[in-house]
Amino acid sequence: MITVKKLGKNFGPLKALDNINFTIAAGEIVTLLGPNGAGKSTLMRLLSGYLEPTAGQIEIFGKTYTSNRRQILSQIGYVPENAPLYGEMTVFEFLKFMSAARNLSAKQIAPQISELSDQFELSEVLNQKCETLSKGFKRRVAIAGVLTSSPRILILDEPTEGLDPNQKYITRQFFKDYAKNNIVIISTHIMEEVTALSSRVILLNKGKLVKDTTAERLSELSPDNNLETAFRRITNKNK
């Protein structure tokens, strides 16, 4: 369970997020939607513990980052927008490093890497250096990296960017299955993904939460029952 209360984040005079409130329970796939600069990535960085809020608080399974940072981080898998990897490492070395960083024992590492490489079709690139991978492979490796410890919360910034249609399908199916017992939060600009994946949409604009609803209900806000039109209507109205 994630509880966000009166959350705010300022970067100097800029209010990146202001008075954000929501609760997310296990079993939900939540999509963060919003135009560029709406505060989606900032919200993800706050949820993942990378940034500290200027105001308000984030409770994850009843705990806050101030007193239980490492305990919370072991339950969260966060993949930033550019899916960073250590270029000089091979995929296997990277997954091994991530497994160890996420407290897996030496015995658990090899079977977990093998399972994830099957799941994300990484077997052929396991011994390849991360810097030589294509964009799609890099993203899959980054996702596999945080999944090594099977975190209860998965936070992914534009997770299917750079993936081919087959991989997009496989990845989305994986997120759907994963969200049955866990929380998945994704940020995307692809409307098709919102309808295909999410059980709930949080729409941000100019740092404020403007809608917290389902994709269907959001679509109904446009005359043609189209999500993209509804998105444009809401975000342009607020400009």
Partner: protein, 243 residues
């Protein structure tokens, strides 16, 4: 905690070799050390029972090479965006800071070990003061630790490894030249106590004692203090830059 330090140490230490930086630095270090020892240090013309020709130039050589080791430790993390990945893992910041520092210091130890054949070569030709040489090596190791910590700290301030390198060399130069007599002469300090106090803070003063093979508790405390202080600043910088 020690497990996490070990993990970061392994990652960074292996990275020095994966990127071939370690081989490059090792090559340059050995070339510069031998050039300074044999050519500038007039190795064959002076009595080198304590390897004076070698140790005399070590601080200057390390001052140029250690920032090349440390420059990318944090700057690269910021430049590539990997910092977000690293700091959102369940690792303590202190462990990450110490692990990165130890990897650079570990490589310094390797550099010093690789220069040991000179000791052997000297010992085969003349009677050497082995205890003196050993303490001088220990001194070099301590000094390199302080330099690594300062280099790591400067790297944490920068996104560009080149800027981190230049800033580290500049800062280390400043720390070292504070010792020069002109500082005392220019700002005429009142009384002997002030001079002695300032002198005790001097890198050069402690370095001269250490590299002459005379090791004192004050020297050890001095270099360990610089190391700990720089690492503490490094940790604060990481937290501050995180926002």
């Amino acid at each position: 905690m020690s497990k996490q330090i070990c993990l970061i140490f392994q990652k960074e230490f292996a990275s020095f070799f994966r990127t071939r930086l370690a081989y490059f630095i090792l090559g340059i270090y050995l070339f510069l050390s031998m050039f300074c020892t044999f050519y500038l240090g007039l190795y064959f013309d002076v009595i080198n029972a304590n390897l004076f020709s070698f140790f005399y130039f070590q601080v200057n050589i390390l001052m140029l090479l250690i920032p090349a080791l440390t420059m990318r430790l944090w700057a690269d993390e910021y430049k590539t965006g990997n910092i977000e990945l690293l700091l959102t893992q369940p690792l303590s910041y202190t462990a990450v800071v110490i692990g990165k520092f130890l990897s650079a210091w570990g490589l310094c130890l390797l550099l010093l070990i690789c220069s040991a054949p000179l000791w052997l070569f000297t010992a085969l030709n003349i009677s050497t003061d082995n205890l003196n040489i050993l303490t001088s090596y220990f001194g070099c190791f301590l000094i390199s630790g302080s330099m690594c910590a300062v280099g790591c700290m400067v790297s944490a301030f920068n996104k560009s490894p080149i800027v981190a390198y230049l800033a580290s060399v500049l800062l280390l130069t400043l720390i070292i030249i504070v010792d020069y007599n002109f500082v005392f002469n220019t700002f005429s300090f009142p009384g002997n106590l002030a001079i002695r106090f300032t002198q005790s803070l001097n890198f050069f003063y402690h370095q001269s004692t250490l590299l002459s093979g005379q090791i004192g508790v004050d020297n050890i405390i001095y270099y360990l203090s610089i190391t700990v202080f720089a690492l503490w600043l490094n940790r604060i910088t990481i937290e501050y830059k995180r926002g």
